[in-house]
Each structure stands twice: as structure tokens, then as C-alpha cells.
Symmetry: C2
Subunit: 325 residues, 2 copies
Amino acid sequence: MTDRLTPTLIALDWGTSSLRAYLLGEAGRVLATQSRPWGIQHTPDGDFARAYEELVGDWYRQWPGLPALACGMIGSRQGWHEVPYALCPANVSDLVEGLLALDTACGTLHMVPGVLEASALPNVIRGEETQVFGALQLAPELRDNALLVLPGTHSKWVTVRDGAIDHFTTHMTGELFAVLRDHSILGRPAREQGSERSDEAFFRGLDAARQSAAEGVSGRLFSTRSLLLTERLTAGESLDYLSGLLIGEELRSVLASIKEDECPPLVLIGDAHLCERYRLALTRFGVASVRTLENAGVAGLWYLACAAALVIATPTPVSRSALHV
Amino acid sequence: MTDRLTPTLIALDWGTSSLRAYLLGEAGRVLATQSRPWGIQHTPDGDFARAYEELVGDWYRQWPGLPALACGMIGSRQGWHEVPYALCPANVSDLVEGLLALDTACGTLHMVPGVLEASALPNVIRGEETQVFGALQLAPELRDNALLVLPGTHSKWVTVRDGAIDHFTTHMTGELFAVLRDHSILGRPAREQGSERSDEAFFRGLDAARQSAAEGVSGRLFSTRSLLLTERLTAGESLDYLSGLLIGEELRSVLASIKEDECPPLVLIGDAHLCERYRLALTRFGVASVRTLENAGVAGLWYLACAAALVIATPTPVSRSALHV
């Protein structure tokens, strides 16, 4: 007999730069969380087993036999153990069938496979697939047809059809911004003189990208410097302008691939600050009705654990607060 | 009375990363050259005066009173003395009027102004304007209408009309490639396992960019990694593939701005290896009749010196060997 405070699952989101663990109770309720900067590129000594035991050992010893499920880059070739990709179109059953069970000092850890779209220019995700199915759990009306946007270092745009991941693209916008900020001539003024937030500069960058139409920003990136040289942009504003150019190019490119009257419902998933930035940007591109879903990752881990019968399948109640229109 | 071996001009191309000096005789004939890795970012102690004297002092003492002319970033705010930009459309007279005379320990150094296109997204060149007028001197038939391509760290595409620089754009292709190679996940496999030249991979990257059509490469850059993960590209080939994607995006963007039947004669100017790479790339994009002009920089310095009456204006004979169709 369990009550609402009895743990039923250890769930992990173990990515490239961070590691988050959740102790979940009935219906996926979050009872406790822990996080470490131990993404797979920063795990001490690259010792995933020890890191795992350090993080969840106390939980496991207190509740022996608790099932555990992890998603993210921990299942990549550079992670603890490679979990082969599920192929597009991939639904929940495909992910469950692809789960890899790993023996650890704290019982069996089940690892979620990433998804591979084996097209001429292939695409891969690891971790985002779990967020996607969490989002479909939080907002089931998206299952038929939706375009889910997961902004980040490598932004993913995931097309869902009939409850499956049908297609997705990767835009390296976050990484492009970081390398240009830290290593190019465009970032130098802000590196030397500092930066300040400027929504206006961000919008100017977005507009320059939007107006580039089919040309794209290739011939406009340098305006981050030339506007500074002609004293129409300050060093402090320059990074937000550059961010606008790059996020704008991502939106321009994606929207160029969609016929105007065929854009499926658009939903943003992920870090609240970044989602708000993308929501603002989409509005600037004339796409106004964009929803944001929070906590899709935990919801997805819970949902997959239920589908895999690691826990007793109790439906996740849709949290109204998690859903913003 | 001068003969063909009597020096008449000291000409300098003093850019961001290198410094080249030419001792020119009658008709711009190159009598001697010197070069140092003393671009304005690498001039020892940032002491331009001393670097200049060290480089050309012997020439000046041997032939006192020899006029001197320099183009490039040495005339920028970060250089020896800022030379205000000439405005687009800029012809030779505009550049001559904008020359700045600087007193040095080796006589007066005349410095060529850069050119500013003061459009909504402004553009600037410093050094390339001299190459452009050198090219028009080497191939006068280009004066009416031509599109000159100067590939490099910051590629410039310069539209010439009626003997003037009418318009130009900047594509940061070389710098983008360098920061992605050295600092992004796309460059990591080659950083760890080394790289080998692969024209085939270069063409594959070009084709991926060309086929992206109006979307551009934003959603395709990541294929440099995903093709590797799926073992359809090797670490060794990955940099040439990335180079193809980036140069391809530059070409795609420029060609999207030109109506198909209105493309002016295209001419490549600059480093022979890089020009050949762009010529191959343009061919892949269906632009076959592209000429390459060598030594446009020296020709331009000589031409401007003549126009400014720093030397006796003798026409530069068009060197047949400098002109490849």
C-alpha cells in the first residue's frame, strides 16, 4: 500500500552538461530532486558508475528495489553505455522496446534510446525524445499533429504525427552564438567592454534576419561589426543583436520549409528563459499563437516508465500550471 | 633619366594578419618584395612606426625621396592612423581625394581610405578597394559592370558599375569555418583524429548547401556530425564537408540575390588556392564562366599612385599571364 509520498521511480536526465535526478512518487509527483554539473563531458574522472552511485545511492539504500530510468547523452557512444537509436517514425512502444538495462551498484538502470531519422542528411536526438513524449502526455491534443520546438545549444524542431516522432531538424544556434561570442571578431567588443541586455537590439537582429528572405543571414552577420564601426550599435548591445540574427536565421529557415497555411500547432519546450526568447522571436516573425510547456522532461520519464511497466501506470494529471497559452 | 630597374614607388599591403611591401619600378614592375607576419594585430609592440622603418628603411635610404603608398587595415581605427572611409559609389578619384599623408622616419606614407556603403546594414572594406581597382586596370572591360569576388576570412562580393565600387557585401565564411573547426563540436573529430583533403566531401557539402534552397544551411550544419555518427562521413573528411557547407551557403545566398539572367561577369581575385576552391564551388552551382585575376593588389597600388601623381603615370601593361579564363 503506497501513499502519495512513497517513492516509485528514480528518474534521470543525464545530458552533455548537466545531470538531474528526480525521486518520483505516485502519478509522477516530484518528491525530491538533485542536480550536479556532471554532464557526460564533465563527469568526475569520466566515472559514470561512481557518479550515479553518489547521486542516487542514498535514495536507493532507503528504498531498495526502486526502479530507475535515465534519458539523454548518457546513452550515447561517449556516455556510460551506448543505447542504439530507435528509428523515425518512433512512438512510445519503439522507445520502450529499445530500453537498455544496465546493472549498477544501485540496481538496474534502464536507459532510453535516442531517435535517428535516417534520411539523406540524418538527424539524431538523445533526451529530447523523452521531453517530446512528456509534452504529448501533458497536452494530448498535440498527438495528431504538432511542431515541438526545443531551443538550446542544438535546437531541435520535432514534427509529431499520430503520436509518433515523424521528423526533426537540428539548428546549432546556441553553439554558433557561443563560438562567435567567445572566439570571433563579432564578440570582441563585448568581450572587451562588457554586455548589457537589450531587447531592442535583439529585435533589430531578428528583423535583419527576417528581411534577408531567401538570402539568409550569410551576408548580414558582419553587420554586427559594421553597425558598431558606424556607431549605430554599441558594444553592450552587440551580443543581443547577434543573438537576434542567429535565432532569426533559425526561424527564417524553418518557416521557409513550411507552407503558410500548413503550419501545425507550435509548442515550445524547455528552459523558461530561452522559451520566452523564442516566443518573442516567433511573434516578431508573425507566429503569435505559440504555447510553452514546462516540465516535459520529468513527465516524459514518468510516462515511459509507466509504458515500460517499471512502475504501476497511473495517468499523469495534466497540471494546469504547466501549460501556458 | 630612369630605366626599368630604377625604383619609383614603395607600395604596402598592410592587413590584419600580414604585411607585404613591394619595391616597384617603371609601369609598376615589381623589383623586390618583403613580407612579415606583422599584420596590425601582430605588429611587434603595436609599434607601427618602428615596423615600417625596419621593413622599408633600407630601400628608403638607398633611394631617398621615394614615394610610399599603403592600403589595408593599417588605415583603420586599430591601425597606425585612421583614414576616413570614402563613400559608395566610390571611384578612383574618391580614393585619391581621401588619401591620408602621414609623416614617418622614411618620408611621407600615403594611406588609402577604405570604402563605406552607408546602407541600412552598412558594409566596409579596407584593402579590397585597392585590389578592385587593380583588377579594373588589369581587365578594363570589367569597368562597366562586374561582380568581383574576393574570398577570404571575410569574403567580399563587390559590384562594379561605371568604373566605381557601387555596392558590396561581406560573408564571414573563412572566420566561421575557423571558429567551428577550432571550437565547435563539428571540428572535434578532426581535432582529435586529424584531417585529410577530400574534394568529394567538399562537393557533398556544397551540394547539401545548394539543395537547401531558401532554407539555407541553418538546419544542415549539424549533418557534419550526424553523417559521422552514422558512419557516412569520416573524421578526416569532415572539415572539407563543413567547408563545402559554408562556402556553399555563401554562394547560395549571393546567387539568391541575383536574377538568373542578370548575373554580371564574375571574377575571382586573391589567393590562388582559395580562388580555385571558389571557382570549383561556383561550377558546382552552375556558374561556369568565372575568371581569376592574380596580383590585383600590386596593380591597384600602382594605379592609385599614378592617379595621385605620386609617380609618373605610365600605364600598366596587362600581363597575359595574370589573366585566366
